[in-house]
């Protein structure tokens, strides 16, 4: 089993960061465990903590009254949950819920944000990496919006 530091260094979003930055991030991290079905964050909550998944999976959901939550995305091992901690107004846009028993690394986003302010090089690195997550999410959302399975192909 990997240590916290190894797990963080292996995650794609942090891969290749300078050792001192990895140490700093590790310093902001803590192993946490959740049962299935636990709400990690709710839409509108302050985004001060984000997660890196070690085991299990986490769903991002949209809640709307009178209906079951709509599950729009799931994140799995090695993937981060949440980027709102890095972008104003630092509030979650979606609910996050564990869908299996999960081992996560909880990272102190508010603390990291402060470090980024002090060290623009770190700020640039994290902004660049999470911007990439955002781009991927945007592309996936566009693809999802097309609802491609809705009306195309009959069986060829």
């Amino acid at each position: 089993m990997l240590t916290l530091a190894q797990e963080i260094a292996a995650a794609e979003v942090f891969a290749g960061l300078a050792p001192e930055y990895l140490d700093l991030i590790t310093g902001c991290g803590q192993n946490v465990h959740f049962d299935a079905g636990v709400i990690l964050q709710r839409e509108g909550d302050p985004a001060d903590v984000f997660y890196l998944i070690r085991r299990g999976s986490v769903a991002l959901e949209v809640h709307h009254p009178g209906a079951e939550p709509i599950r729009i995305l799931t994140e799995g091992p090695g993937e981060p949950v949440g980027w709102s901690w890095l972008f104003e107004p630092y509030r979650w846009h979606l609910d996050a819920r564990t869908i299996q028993p999960c081992s996560l690394i909880a990272l102190d986003g508010a603390c990291l944000r402060g470090k980024c302010e002090q060290d623009p090089a770190l700020g640039y690195e994290l902004m660049r990496r999470f911007a990439r997550c955002l781009v991927e999410r945007l592309e996936a959302t566009q693809f999802q919006l097309l609802d491609v399975y809705g009306n195309a192909r009959v069986g060829v």
């Binding site: 079951e68 709509i70 609802d147 399975y149 192909r153 069986g155 060829v156």
Partner: protein, 284 residues
């Protein structure tokens, strides 16, 4: 002249005349999709290669191209999975066991199962794009030792629209790695949610060993190909099954053109590098 006269005699019915197939059984896959099992009315099994399609119709309601979703090693059963979206496909889905349907074919090209030997085979299917790949999965599982990893990445619109649920479980036991995702789901779904391309990253592929086969809506295939390319899979190692307006099945009606290819004759399965340029042109 003599040669052509004898050719005419052997093919006297002509390529436009269908053969009768009796519907033995039908299975509902989803709200609008059925799998039909047919047998030839007059004996001759319909030998096919996975990826090929037939032109099938129910008495005078129009003919449609449908990929064969059956086991290539059991040609005495013609299996076709049809989604009811128009008159002809609805008529097919409404047929009752005992009825006789009309079938021409098989037509078109097949998945490159020989070329895939030794490779890690990644099958990316979207929605109704899985049935055209089912025969390939069955053949590869029957010859499991010839292939490296066998990975199925399957995306659907919602959990209740996924096809072949129980069979996929059996395939897993036979050595197929399966990742399934849906575009959206309620809380009862504990699997992946998100687009099928996200599964590519999660499959932990060694790009240099991959041979990919993909079938689904054309937009999906373009995204899939782009993501595979990002992970380092060359476009000549990606095979796609393309849909166009196939009416004759034999390359003479002109409807299924995509630039230099006639999809019914030169496809539907193409090496992506051969059609990449044409798939990028809008309204071609």
């Amino acid at each position: 002249m003599l040669a052509s006269a004898s050719d005419t005699a052997t093919a006297s019915a002509g390529p436009l005349v269908p053969a009768p197939f009796r519907l033995l059984a039908k299975r509902r896959e989803t709200a609008d999709t059925w799998t039909l099992e047919l047998e030839p009315r007059h004996g001759t099994p319909l030998e096919f290669a996975p990826g090929q399609f037939t032109m099938i119709s129910r008495g005078g309601c129009g003919e449609v191209p449908i990929s064969i979703s059956g086991d290539p090693d059991e040609p005495e059963r013609l299996v076709q999975t049809v989604r009811a979206v128009g008159l002809a496909t609805s008529a097919l889905c409404e047929a009752e066991p005992g009825e006789v349907l009309s079938v021409r074919g098989p037509f078109g090209t097949a998945w490159p199962l020989e070329e895939a030997e030794g490779a890690d085979v990644v099958i990316v299917a979207g929605g109704i794009g899985l049935p055209p790949l089912r025969g390939a999965v069955l053949r590869m599982l029957a010859q499991r030792e010839r292939y490296g990893r066998l990975v199925l990445l399957y995306g659907g619109r919602a959990p209740d629209q996924l096809l072949f649920g129980e069979q996929i479980q059996q395939w897993r036991e036979q050595g197929l790695e399966v990742l399934i995702t849906v575009d959206s789901a309620g809380p009862e779904w504990i699997g992946h949610v998100g687009v099928v391309t996200r599964l590519i990253g999660r499959a932990g592929l060694d790009a240099s060993r991959v041979l990919a086969m993909t079938c689904g809506p054309e937009v999906m295939m373009r995204f899939v190909v782009a993501t595979l390319a990002d992970t380092g899979v060359q476009s000549d190692r990606i095979h796609v099954s393309i849909e166009r307006n196939m009416q004759c099945g034999i390359g003479v009606c002109g409807h299924c053109q995509l630039g230099p290819v006639l999809v019914c004759r030169d496809g539907p399965v193409f090496r992506y590098s051969e059609v990449e340029r044409w798939m990028r042109v809008r309204e071609l």
